[in-house]
């Protein structure tokens, strides 16, 4: 019983040590469910299956609840078709891919997309499209600047 009591009293110290351990371990990138190759395969599949959409890799998009802001910001943009998906936006926490439904024959404005995602607290990295069967990417301006 005394042993249990003593251990319990050390909980605070244990928690601090665990916190420090996890903190130092998390300095690097996470262990994403989807590596870049997996994301590319998922992107090709999505682009082939869906029309009138824009596909974006958003770094850190791992929590659909925290990322509600992306939907809040993007769904207000004039080129987004909010009748599709969930208010025009679909988010995949595993691949960190963001799908934006576009109105037919309307082109997305890359700067507005980039600003909306940044204002929501996330980092847009690149957008995807298909050239034949080949996946093409364009890096967002803010990523180019930071390089």
């Amino acid at each position: 019983m005394n042993l249990i009591k003593k251990s319990v009293k050390n909980w605070a110290a244990i928690m601090v040590v665990v916190a420090l351990g996890v903190t130092s371990a998390s300095a690097a990138d996470g262990d994403p469910d989807a590596k870049q190759e997996v994301r590319n395969v998922a992107a090709v599949k999505l682009l082939k299956e869906h029309k009138d959409m824009s596909l974006v890799y958003v770094k850190g998009l791992v929590c659909p609840s925290c990322a509600i802001g992306i939907r809040v910001k993007l769904s207000k943009l004039p080129f987004v078709d909010s009748t599709r998906y969930k208010r025009g936006i679909d988010m995949d926490a595993k691949t960190q891919l963001l799908t934006i439904a576009l109105l037919p024959m309307v082109k997305a404005n890359a700067e507005e997309v980039e600003k909306a995602i940044t204002d929501a607290g996330y980092e847009p990295v690149e957008r995807y499209w298909l050239e034949g069967d080949k996946l093409k990417t364009t890096t967002f301006a803010s990523v180019k600047k930071s390089k």
Binding site: W11, D29, G30, C63, A67, G69, G121
Partner: protein
């Protein structure tokens, strides 16, 4: 005289553990100009009156039923303002009457408000997103001045630090905070550690967490609470959370109730 002394001793230090959690559900809103409100229905039952490590009066219980009204505004993702206002629906405690029996005290009404200014540094990595937070805290006395008050009615200042991150399947939060008060109330230091597992049933977002809090007060009081929580987000606006925490360790620096459980049901709306 004895009754009065015992009552006042208990009353002077009767207090609740200030939760380290921030609205909304510790998560939102992360976006510029986002805001939200949250209501928490809390029920707490303590089994015994403790003094130090020992049970001074077995079966002298305390039951507290609270509503917490909370809100948050996010200017941009690095600056938030939050408030928490508790309302005591009913609090009932049993104290020794000095004659071998019990007398019963009641409390209801407003509790002390807490204002916080969480300053956040977010990071986005491949497969991981999180934040560091430094959080100045202010306790505003709104509670009454009866001989039994759940909240102590004192000004207080504090500072909180936290680190959290999420991955597609896992979530982690650790925090430490310290409070100093204006008058008799002893200073407090708290630690929190939350671990969560995320899953996505029927296109909703859910999380099962195991949460642990440890509180140390300057008067020698130590409390370790731990238990499960369930978070469910079924649309973009509405978020729900259910929580149960058990006192695994209680040491009271002064005569106070302990050895209990607390249950919380939260409903948050974010815009």
């Amino acid at each position: 005289m004895l009754i009065r002394r015992v009552t006042l001793l208990g009353a002077a230090f009767s207090s609740l553990i200030a939760s380290a959690d921030e609205p909304i559900m510790n998560m939102m809103p992360r976006w510029d100009n986002g805001w939200g409100v949250q209501m928490i229905n809390e029920y707490r039952h303590e089994n015994d009156l403790l003094l130090g490590d020992r049970i001074a009066y077995s079966g002298f219980s305390e039951d507290v039923h609270l509503l917490h009204f909370q809100g948050v505004y996010t200017w941009d993702r690095s600056i938030r303002l939050t408030y928490k206002i508790p309302y005591v629906l009913d609090a009932r405690r049993e104290m020794p009457d000095g004659l071998g029996g019990k007398h019963i005290d009641h409390d209801n009404g407003l509790g002390d408000a807490t204002l916080a200014l969480p300053l956040k540094k977010y990071f986005n990595l491949d497969g991981r997103s999180g934040s560091w937070t430094i959080k100045p805290l202010l306790r505003v006395p709104l509670a009454g001045d009866d001989n039994y008050e759940i909240y102590d009615g004192e000004w207080g200042g504090g500072l909180g630090l936290s680190y959290e991150f999420e991955m597609p399947r896992f979530a982690f939060l650790s925090s430490v905070s310290h409070w100093a008060f204006d008058n008799k109330k002893p200073s407090e230091t708290g630690f929190s550690l939350d671990l969560g597992y995320k899953f996505y049933p029927l296109e909703t977002n859910s999380q099962i967490l195991w949460e642990t809090d440890f509180l140390y007060k300057e008067n020698g009081t130590e409390t370790l609470l731990s238990g499960p929580a369930f978070y469910w987000n079924f649309n973009d606006v509405t978020h729900m959370r259910l929580e149960w925490k058990h006192d695994f360790h209680n040491r009271q620096g002064t005569l106070d109730h302990g050895n209990g459980d607390r249950f919380l049901l939260s409903l948050g709306m974010v815009f």
